[in-house]
Subunit: 165 residues, 10 copies
């Protein structure tokens, strides 16, 4: 964890866009003062996946629920009710185009390099797409020689060729 | 290079959104039947950077221009005129939200995981953003044990903390 | 083919949104007065796939190009130049939401039944999506007992479960 | 039903866009842990139609209401009040363009193949549209030789020719 | 025809949104100084249908083409080429919401009375829609006792009940 | 009244867009199980006008209020308070473009025939518009020889010529 | 005329949105270096009406055409061809919301005072609107005691009460 | 005041867009059955300014607050709390483009005559804008010889030339 | 502080877009009748930064929280809870394009001078951007010789050159 | 001038949005290889003003035209024709929200700090706006102790209080 010892919490003004579980999970995380790194380590999942789970953008397995119950000191029954039924209704955490500066930078990368990615991917793989479903992602921190910090985001998706029909 | 031996070309219907150099460069690339991998190797730059340069989203150095002139068999004077003056006017290669399926998948990753990235980055680095300017990116191809192909995109940006003022 | 003996042509007012090959192909189709059914039969592909190819939304194989050259009486060299290089830049044939009544009806089906499809698919397959890439589609005509005509569109896509990471 | 034994529930964050009956029906479905397949079988209707009914996008007949009352253990009077009066106010279940990845894929199919469908349908039927009202749809699951799962969605609509006037 | 002896022509600034036939037809109409009433009378069709045909929003029959050739003094071959092949690509004549005051008034009627129409139509016919395809429309002029002029637009569409499935 | 004996009610999810009176009126209408035809007959107004009044899109006269009080068994004082003060704040009953299929069909008519209406109206009346304010409208039901049902909507507006200044 | 002796001309970048007559008229006005005040005085019309006529937003009478021909030294035949046939296709001169600062200020007045105007007009006139068709407008210049200049725009429209039906 | 003796009230469905003071003021106005003309006369301000104040679009002076307290029989302390602190947060009373027919007509005037106003103002005053801040406006009623009513809106703004820098 | 002795407060209608802390802070500021200048002086930060902090657009340090607790007479525990955890979720204070006239003027400056700024910055610094993160800003008041007041806003951001990769 | 010796040129893909003079001026500037700093120095104007003039966003005085003619070696007659007549039609140089990263950062500053600026300005000046018309702006370059470069943009506008009326 960085020098900055603050943890991510849930802004009350976006609660209405998210499932009930988001508030339950974030409130407990805040109370216990846990980072996503700590929780992810317990669940043996990527930090990004766990954060996505908190925002209602990813699914929890029964084992995840059990571990979350322990680490967050939440009744397993409550978590089961809020997380084990239904399927994530994705894509509504924030507006697009993003207004949040950090998220906008990612959007801008797609805007500026979108066609470049397409050209390079097409040449490497043919006519198709990189899946965002058969997909994983992670965030890493690097510090260079001069002490400058760098964020490294890796996107890894299965290549899906267009079916000929 | 993949089995698929086709190369990326410039769709005539987006030419009007791009600088004059885009057509010059793509036409020569098509004639010479070169991949971005080949050209990038000559320029000692990332394939994505070279493709971005072709789409008018990145700048060419005098050395780049000289090498492009050689590899694409284009008069250096012409490339100098089209590439050495002025500064890229970025962000207009395609519409947002993207309508192209490959590019849309990248947009969808931002839509679905945007807040998760923000939460994880904030916890790792504090209050700030990952720069999209002090930034580099690359595309790699992996083949897993079962022969399935995976695209791996890496985004690496300098961390910029919000200034206290 | 239906009683209605007219064939689909390319409206001049959308030409600028499409690749050069669209005009080449449609002009020849119009001159030869061929339906997509006839051409599809020659290419051994679905009519929808062939129409998509004409609109620049699908890729032609070398064999397709050769057969199109024959059936449309177009120089194979010309078709090779326009179709064999580059990759389709999809999604720009028409505006969304669609203004064309026929296409709007399809959009309306997604608008009205989108969540119903999601609920049923999630229950049948789990958390994931039906691919639009590993995908095929076809159009059939049925005539019921009273002589009424019905259009049947089939969408068949591979199920992709969200990766756990 | 699939291996995945979870059922579709109603995300609390979209409740305000739907009629009162949606919450009543989904809550009971969740409590009784019933799939749409099970309920549809009781009502002798398509799963998609039943899910649409739950989302307020389709109408319930008196017989449907009676059966729903039994299968969901809800007072018939309550269901009658919420379902037997008024007419569905369709189209507001989710935003367009869809932000949910599964629903977006369907939207993308319309975006990419819209004009291809129009061309093929016009050639087969003449100048008109496939009705989305005199219309039915179903979802099926196929498993191919290699064990891969495929979703098959069928759209069947009456052909309506434009009236000459 | 009204006191006002001017005829409708085609504004050059919308030509690019319309099919080639629009310019051919309007230019001839202007040269011959014909009203839609006169042309419609020859074709035995509604004035609105004929105007729609001129704007590329309706289909011409072979007989229509023949009569148009005569009345507009245009080569039948030319009209056949522009009108007998292909199918109307509707909905692109003007922007929505309309910026033209006359057309905006019609849009405003839908905006203000849309739900009222729905409520009344549902009570009269049940759950369904008034078709805009199995549809005809006409415009009439009335002059009241005080000499005031009134426009009367009639919309007549087949009622389509939602299919139960 | 049609075979279909259901009446129009107010969807709870659009209540917040409408004035307080809408809920009062619709609740009473539902309790008394009255159609707009019945109420309109009492008020000696068009059904569409009455439905518009219920949706807050038209004004009630003191006599209307008195009759509504009687027919709906609502305290005249309550209706007077909710209906006799203030002026309708029109145009907010539903979104534009409409997402409801029935209302969308009316919107589509404007989209497809807007310029055709303009051309015909201009030729019949000169440069001006059909008023949507000095305006009345009605809905009628026709059954043709084959038993098919047709909806007929009539729009009648005063012609307003553009003032010369 | 003001100290500022420049005259309004037509920006070449908006020509494509306007009818052919706009370029004809503005070019002649520029050549002859005439203000709208001078031309309006000749036509005995408001300056705003004349400017609107130049932008294709108002109609010219035969007498207007004759006078314009004289004052602008343009062949009457040319003006007759461009102005005497057809009807203005209004509303397309500029984008909304306006990006031009002067025009935006007018838009902002509507945005800020719209409901205030409605409240005051309703109290003065009842339920209705101020017509924008039976309408005239003018622009005046005032100079106050301190030499400050004020623009005064007057909007005068017929009051149209909503018809009771 | 007009024959129409109704007064403007606050539609409950827009309350959430306005400051707390709007509801306080309108409720009292409704209870006391006062027109804006009456209140404006007491405050010695324009009716439009007073209506704008009620909608939170204009500021109240201490003297205004005192007089409003008297005329509306509201505790001065309450009004002071709601009106004397803070600054108006303008522009959110209604949507743009306006959906209310009366307000839309004003918007349409800007849409149709925007460039004409600009041309005339530029010629009269030079390069600049008419201020919407150093600005006043009023509404007047005229009745012509035939008894027809006309609304006259006057906009008076200071001319601001663009600074040369 | 200016003659105008009013202070900025929080409009109740935008509360739902902001974090809980905004209401806490603004309510206390209003009760204590403090300007941002006073608070900023205590915190030794820029007024704009403090106002941004109140709107949830900037972060508070532990020392800031402690000082705010004192100056606003708020329990430090409460402020710690609302301000010391989590990270600002920026960009949602108001709509874009802004509807508030003061904020719109800033937006208009970007609209009108955006490309001019880019051209000048590129020439002075090369290919890159002025950071909005490594950034500070301040507002100053100037009074010129004639007593006219001028607002001076300074934007100071680190120059970030695009990385060559 | 910076190390970077490139000058700003005009991207061919935005030429159609700008007046004719933009291309004339930029072409000459490119040929002569002049920076805006050099030209501004000759005209005794701000660099930003000169760049704005090149983009058609600011007006040229007769003296400016004469000096531009000399410094750019362009016929004074040509510049007079393109620059001395008409008035700038501002706001169309680029899209909003901006897609260009440099310009987007300025937009983001307005998005994030808009309400903070408003609060601080209101407290300093009262109820009003900072004019964007009686306005000047400049760009400066600072280099700090560590050699880092900073861009400083100053916005200076006259304060305009809302008129009481």
């Amino acid at each position: 964890m960085a020098d900055n010892s603050k943890i991510a919490t849930l802004d009350s003004s976006i609660v209405s866009r998210l499932p009930t579980s988001s508030q339950t999970l974030f409130t407990a995380k805040t109370t216990k003062n846990l980072t996503f790194a700590t929780i992810a380590s317990e669940l043996n999942r990527s930090e990004v996946a766990v954060a996505a789970l908190f925002y209602g953008q990813a699914q929890a397995s029964p084992a995840d629920i059990s571990k979350l119950s322990t680490i967050l000191s939440l009744p397993e029954e409550l978590l089961t009710e809020q997380l084990s039924q239904g399927f994530p209704d994705r894509g509504r955490a924030g507006p697009m185009p993003p207004v949040e500066p950090l998220i906008y930078r990612l959007y801008e990368i797609v805007q500026n390099y979108g066609y470049a990615y397409k050209a390079v991917l097409n040449e490497k793989f043919g006519d198709g797409i990189m899946s965002a479903i058969s997909f994983s992602t992670k965030v890493e921190k690097e510090v260079d020689d001069k002490g400058a910090e760098w964020a490294v985001i890796t996107l890894r998706g299965k290549w899906l060729p267009f079916t000929r029909f």
